[in-house]
Subunit: 176 residues, 2 copies
DNA sequence: TTCGGGGCTGGTCAGATTGTGCAGCGGTAC
DNA sequence: GTACCGCTGCACAATCTGACCAGCCCCGAA
């Protein structure tokens, strides 16, 4: 990188790389370099760095719960008994396969999680399972009726081009 | 598949395949077949079908917003003016790169979306942008303080092994 | 019981890709 | 001016891929 002033998150080439890779995930490094009009080594190096920096977490297969029969999705806010702590509750949630993710949040409710179920009836079963833990006081469920914007990050990637990284808590390396 | 009774979502081999692929995304079909102890053609066929059925949506690179400098994540519920309709609001949200996803939901609030920002101060900017649309009456923000369970689907995949697909709305094929 | 279909195996083939190493070039920092 | 870093273009051997094949086994149907 140029200087220690402040490494930018990503540059235009990185963005194009991610962009292309998102559009056609199965395309290889060689093809990538051809389309991007850069040397193959460059693509490989960029990719390695992107992964090393954690910008690209991985290339795991994206599973569609609906295709597995889990056609109902819902968001649930959980109010927990402070005594128990978020950690214990999270452990409980982790044991439920239908809980896809969970976050501690500010404001009303203490935990927000995303769950799926096979049907509305099945949702009840899942919810029973979720709240069937002493540390949880109350649960509010919001059923997802329609997916207006599917999970995406591409626009963000493009917006981040050239923008310097905030020096909040990068690994001890940008020091001297 | 056995009969027309009800195709199961996935079987054990499919699950192992997804499992292994998630653990090591860069591994090829050949290596996959070696580890799974099945013929290469089998792996290729399974993979093709999994993708054809939509179980595997793709292999796109997973981007970590935090690594791009977007260290703050929040969930926002939006109450919208019915006149405008969810569609129009969704269009508005789609134009904001920091909006990672959005769903129409039941219950209080009409839309739930996930947004990211560079900092708390930046979050304000993003929120201003989000609510800066006539169709939105009110927004309630929940900042994600900690990620207790990162987005996952593997447990779900394993739970779905052998379970028959509900005949809700599959393509006209299970008829006879 | 026999037939038909589907899935899996194990093998082959040519073609393409990958990982790796190299030297040269140009821009920037010191 | 010198050193460092990133990109280019090229080469090589090794590997993997997509495609195809015949054979075997199991299950459901007739």
């Amino acid at each position: 990188m140029p200087t220690g002033a402040g490494p930018t998150a990503i540059d235009a080439l990185d963005a194009r790389l991610v962009d292309l890779l998102t559009a056609e995930p199965r395309i290889g490094v060689l093809e990538l370099s051809r389309r991007l009009r850069v040397a193959r080594g460059t693509v490989q190096a960029r990719l390695d760095k992107l992964q090393a920096r954690g910008v690209i977490k991985g290339f795991g297969p994206e599973i569609e719960p609906a295709a597995l029969g889990y056609r109902v999705m819902a968001f649930v806010t959980l109010e927990i008994r402070q005594r128990y702590g978020h950690h214990a509750v999270a452990d409980h949630l982790r044991d439920i396969p239908e809980v896809l993710e969970a976050h501690t949040i500010s404001g009303a409710g203490d935990l927000l999680c995303r769950i799926v179920a096979r049907s509305n009836a099945d949702l009840q079963r899942v919810l029973d399972h979720v709240v069937g833990y002493d540390g949880i006081v109350r649960a509010s469920t919001f059923i997802a009726l329609a997916e207006r914007i599917p999970l995406r990050t591409l626009p963000l990637v493009q917006a981040a081009v050239g923008v310097p990284l905030p020096p909040t808590e990068p690994p001890a390396d940008a020091a001297g």
